[in-house]
């Protein structure tokens, strides 16, 4: 089954006073299968966030067509932004429940808080949280709505390595409990290999898909750094065009 079909003919940012127009995406065609964890890898500034914003319906100023397979009446899209984007005047729990319909089951939120180890912090205001905790809250918010598609925009940037690893493991645990299509943007190839079923490599702007590669390391071997490093070396050897990107 195809979860997302992307066919963006053109996305150009209009010119402003000082800067000329910027063509971010040109002829991007992608077909992404259901319930897979897909990592979009590309150099920074290549238009990955632009692509996610288009998928989330936040940016409608483009030419092309996007179809998203959905179980709900309108496609539900969970979006973990690069910065956590929590409402500072709402507690952790309120931030999550606000994204849910009023008749939601509080047990789902409890379970998610528990998995992400935030049960003790649920009545805390976000300004008192560390960045790692805020990121976890925004991940819970995205999971809680039971999304058709989950978009994640470099959610582990500027976390220290141990915290990033911990949140990554929690993320995968959560995703395995309730599989759905995940689009995870990163420019860190090791992180992508550790997480993804499938890697999609994107070029510098105007952005196009360069190649798609399946990651065949079993899920229980993903915390093995040598396996990931070996996969990375082989990947770079087999696909010299990718080496130029990163």
């Amino acid at each position: 089954m195809t979860a997302i079909r992307i066919d963006i003919v053109d996305k150009t940012y209009p010119s402003q006073r000082q800067s000329p127009g910027h063509r971010a995406i040109a002829d991007l065609k992608l077909e992404l299968p259901s319930n897979e964890f897909i990592c979009l890898v590309g150099p920074s500034g290549c238009g990955k966030t632009t692509l996610l914003n288009i998928l989330a319906g936040l940016d409608r100023d483009y030419r092309g067509e996007i179809t998203v397979e959905h179980r709900h009446k309108t496609p539900k899209i969970g979006y973990v932004f690069q910065n956590p984007r929590l409402l500072p005047w709402k507690t952790v729990r309120e931030n999550i429940t606000l994204a849910l319909p009023t008749d939601h089951d509080p047990k789902t939120v409890d379970a998610l808080l528990d998995t992400m180890q935030l049960t003790d912090a649920q009545q805390v205001y976000p300004e008192r949280l560390s960045l790692g905790m805020s990121r976890r809250v925004s991940i819970i918010r995205a999971f809680a709505i039971d999304p058709d598609v989950l978009l994640m925009d470099e959610p582990f940037v500027s976390l220290d390595a141990p915290t990033a690893r911990q949140v990554r493991e929690l993320l995968i645990r959560l995703w395995q409990q309730r599989p759905h299509t995940v689009l995870f943007v990163t420019h860190d190839l090791r992180e992508a290999i550790a997480l993804a079923d499938r890697l999609v490599f994107l070029s510098s702007p105007p952005m196009q898909a360069i190649s798609e590669i399946r990651v065949n390391i079993p899920r229980d071997k993903r915390d093995d750094e040598t396996a990931i490093e070996a996969f990375r070396q082989k990947l770079l050897q087999d696909h010299p065009e990718i080496r130029a990107l990163l």
């Binding site: 979006y79 910065n83 984007r85 409402l87 606000l98 918010r141």
Partner: protein, 252 residues
């Protein structure tokens, strides 16, 4: 704040008020003239006016005008301010109007309202509202322009809907601006209301002050002033401060 620090501040507050009254008393004794009565004689006038029911009545009438014109100006001002802050075209179109209304002298609007609509209550209220409205609009417009785009995008992405977005995303961000408009608004409105009453009403503080002026009754003027300042302080302490605390409890 620790409790010792708090009591320290209270003592300082008390001292500053005592010093103010002391200075007043000294100056009044030095001048010993009807144009500056002592605090004691002002207190006496205040007490008599209160007992006779004159002061509560006129103060009440003025406060009623204050509340109604303030409510209308704030509601309209917030609505217009949010719309202008979110819509660039409308903002560009109405910007000139705002500048015009901001710069019409208060006295002119008051006179025009009375000339056009007669010496009636609604004309008085309208005059106050027209004077206050542009200030509220400008403040709330600034607040709306400064809204966090990231949070608005988040609200859109998670299908918050109009009402939820307004209540939980936009309003908390506007709160400091609304409080600013409220404080400056109360101060501005009550000054204008007195002029409105002086020119065209037969009750209220402004009317009374006008009478006192004609009789050169400075003690009466000061007694009414003290009453009004006290009322505004009570509003600040009982309504505005708690609102501030409630809205700011999430801050570190």
């Amino acid at each position: 704040m620790t409790s010792t620090k708090l009591s320290h501040y209270r003592t300082l507050n008390l001292l500053s008020i005592l010093l103010f009254i002391g200075l007043w008393q000294g100056l009044a004794l030095y001048l010993s003239d009807n144009s500056l009565p002592t605090p004691a004689s002002v207190t006496e006038v205040f007490w008599q006016e209160t007992l006779s029911g004159q002061l509560p009545y006129h103060l009440g009438v003025t406060l009623l005008r204050l509340v109604s014109s303030f409510a209308v100006a704030m509601l309209l001002g917030c609505a217009i301010g949010i719309v202008l802050g979110r819509n660039q075209k409308l903002d560009a179109f109405f910007d000139n109007w705002l500048v015009i209304f901001l710069n019409i002298p208060a006295l002119v609007t008051i006179i025009l309202c009375y000339v056009w609509f007669g010496l009636i209550e609604s004309a008085a209220i309208l005059a106050v509202v027209i004077n206050k409205l542009p200030n509220v609009v400008v403040t709330i417009r600034e607040g709306t322009r400064a809204l966090d785009k990231d949070l608005l995008e988040m609200a859109r992405c998670y299908h918050f809907g109009k009402r939820k977005t307004l209540v939980h995303v936009i309003w908390p961000q506007l709160h400091p601006f609304v409080m600013g408009a409220t404080r400056s608004g109360l101060a501005l409105i009550w000054k204008i209301i007195l002029v409105v009453e002086l020119l065209g009403r037969s009750n209220g503080m402004g009317y009374q002050l006008h009478l006192f002026f004609q009789m050169f009754d400075v003690a009466g003027i000061l007694a009414y002033t003290v009453a009004f300042v006290a009322v505004i302080q009570v509003i600040e302490i009982l309504i505005l401060k708690p609102l501030d605390r409630k809205a700011g409890r999430w801050r570190r």
